[in-house]
């Protein structure tokens, strides 16, 4: 908090109430002189008031001269009180402090712009934080009743209280329609704000991705492959944004397969269609992680060597079995003729799956395309 002398409480209050901090500080000093209530109030507020982070480069400097001045005033008043006996407010002053703090809690929870609208309808602000509001109201009431009781005037005041209640009731009846109108207006304003936020989010999305991609496409218009890749990547992004639930790609098989397919599609410019049925969390033993790596290798192979215009990936979780198919309609190959030292299929796919207790099968024939089938059994958590 900028401009604090001790805990910044007075400064904070002054900002909240749009008053000069000097006034608040004088109040605290005065109240401290009277039975030390000011100090208690200060301490309580210091604890409960929300902190405002300091925004600035240099560390906040306390104005020691001001602090000294206020201390001097306090000491002087204290001396004066002792001399005259005026500080013997007795227990009667305590309720004032309780009520005052209650009112302050009520006051400080509304944010400044809204408080202006709510000035005349304080009841409306209570909706925001019921517990604190209730606490505030209770404290105010206790404070008021306590004050009257301590003064021994509760009995006399009951007449006045009744009168007050009638007046307040009457006012409520008069003001009710107006309050209802205000309430409706507030709701409307809130809905409008939500709508605006949504619109802003869409605008940001369109700006960050779609416009950006269109610009890129114009720049690389001569490169057909690149244009296709950009358009496809953008399409996928938009689709995910519109239709897919927000998923953590490191959490489940379906999300991970989608992400891998997206990455390989971007890297090689071949569309990869992904269909997922069922889903399962990734296991801690790394079996599924190994399976995902094998599936990535299968996608890379299909994209790089098959010449297929598109690749189909199907991931299915049924009970405790996870199956991933990667299929292309490319040129295929003669599996037996693959040299033993070619690591792509034998090691990265089949070997890896077998090492982790799964299985891989490759079906291919020259001219018939290729399909890699990976299966893995996992225990469901």
């Amino acid at each position: 908090m900028e401009g604090r002398l001790i805990g910044g409480v007075a400064q904070g209050l002054a900002t909240q109430l749009s008053l000069d901090p000097v006034v608040i500080r004088l109040m605290f000093v005065l109240l401290s002189v009277v039975d030390g209530i000011g100090m208690v109030a200060y301490a309580v507020l210091w604890m409960i008031a929300p902190k405002q982070p300091y925004q600035g480069t240099a560390p906040p400097q306390r104005d020691w001269s001001q602090l000294a001045a206020f201390s001097a005033i306090g000491v002087a008043l204290l001396a004066f009180g002792w001399l005259t006996g005026a500080s013997q407010g007795g227990i009667g002053m305590l309720p004032f402090a309780v009520g005052g703090i209650g009112a302050l809690i009520l006051w400080q929870q509304a944010d400044p712009e809204r408080r202006k609208t709510w000035m005349s309808g304080a009841a409306l602000s209570m909706r925001k934080n019921r517990v604190r509001s209730l606490l505030g109201v209770v404290l105010v009431v206790i404070g008021a009743t306590g004050f009257l009781a301590a003064q021994g005037e509760l009995a006399q005041a009951s007449q006045g209280l009744l009168f007050t209640a009638v007046v307040v009731g009457g006012l409520a009846v008069i003001a009710a329609p107006w309050l209802a109108g205000l309430w409706k207006e507030l709701q409307l304003e809130r809905r409008e704000r939500i709508r605006q936020e949504e619109r802003a989010e869409v605008a940001a999305m369109v700006h960050d991705s779609v416009l950006h991609t269109l610009t890129l496409i114009q720049r690389v218009a001569h490169d057909q492959r690149e244009v296709t890749r950009l358009a496809r990547a953008q399409e996928r992004d938009l689709r995910n944004w519109l239709y897919q639930p927000a998923q953590d790609a490191d959490a489940t098989v379906a999300a991970a397969v989608r992400r891998i397919a997206a990455e390989e599609e971007d890297a090689h410019g071949v569309p990869i269609e992904v269909v997922c049925v069922g889903d399962i969390d990734l296991d801690s033993a790394g079996k599924l992680a190994a399976m995902l790596k094998a599936s990535r290798q299968a996608m890379v192979n299909a994209a790089k060597y098959s010449g297929s215009p598109s690749i189909s990936v199907y991931a299915e979780v049924e009970g405790e079995e996870v199956t991933i198919f990667v299929k292309d309609r490319g040129k295929g190959f003669d599996f037996e003729a693959v040299p033993l030292d070619r690591m792509g299929i034998r090691e990265s796919i089949i070997g890896r799956m077998e090492r982790h207790g799964g299985a891989a099968r490759v079906r291919t024939e020259p001219g018939e395309g290729t399909e890699v089938m990976l299966t893995m059994k996992v225990e469901k958590a």
């Binding site: 519109l242 239709y243 269609e273 269909v275 069922g278």
Partner: protein, 210 residues
């Protein structure tokens, strides 16, 4: 010669489809919103309507409701950029005989139109995935076992479609005829349209939550 009406609110897309369709298909007209579509279908009586899912005035589902509600026998093939389960399941249950996405190739689209015109069903891999997911075994016992669950064979066919197999490849894989594959898919379509399985609509709606 199959007579086709293209219903889509994007003019560019309509002309693109028109150019891509093969010689065996005659495009008899185009429509760009729900009202003009219903009018054109009533007047032209095409064999197959290529129906966009998202359109002003209620979308493809509204066209289906108004045309099929009046007792027409026109066949619909839904065509959409949307992958949302709610849209897909929605138009199929609304009465469309197939669902393909707009990035389908001209040849595949021609094939799909022919199939729909012959009364068969057309499933994209994604639609097959949706159906498998929606009909996945659950704790709740089916109300109507005939309609509310898939047979083993239907499941196999759908799984192959989801894996990217064409009907011909599926037939070869399962040692059955293409006609039998088509029968299975049509039977799944019927279940999808008629099943009261409550998971179906709930599942599709839940899928939409982003």
């Amino acid at each position: 010669m199959t007579r086709v009406l293209i219903v889509d609110d994007h003019r560019l897309f309509r002309s693109g489809v028109r150019a891509e369709l093969g010689d065996s298909i005659e495009v008899v007209g185009e429509a760009e919103d729900v009202d003009s579509a219903v009018k054109a279908i009533t007047e032209l009586q095409p064999d197959v309507v290529l129906l966009d899912v998202h359109m002003p005035g209620g979308g493809g589902q509204e066209v289906l409701r108004r045309v099929l509600g009046s007792g027409s026998q026109v066949r619909f093939l839904a065509l959409s950029v949307s992958d949302a389960a709610e849209d897909v399941i929605g138009v199929i249950r609304g009465g469309a005989r197939g669902y393909v996405t707009k990035n389908i190739s001209g040849k595949e689209l021609t094939d799909a139109i022919r199939r729909v015109s012959e009364g068969d069903a057309v499933f994209s891999p994604r639609l097959a995935g949706f159906v498998l997911d929606a009909f996945a075994s659950s704790e709740a016992p089916p109300i109507d076992p005939e309609l509310d669950s898939l047979t083993q064979r239907e499941r196999e066919v759908l799984r192959l479609i989801a894996r990217g197999y064409a009907y011909k490849e599926i037939a070869k894989e399962l040692f059955i005829s293409v006609k039998t594959v088509e029968t299975h898919v049509s039977s799944v379509l019927r279940k999808l349209q008629l099943s009261n399985r409550h998971e179906l609509s709930r599942w599709a709606t839940a899928r939409r939550l982003v």
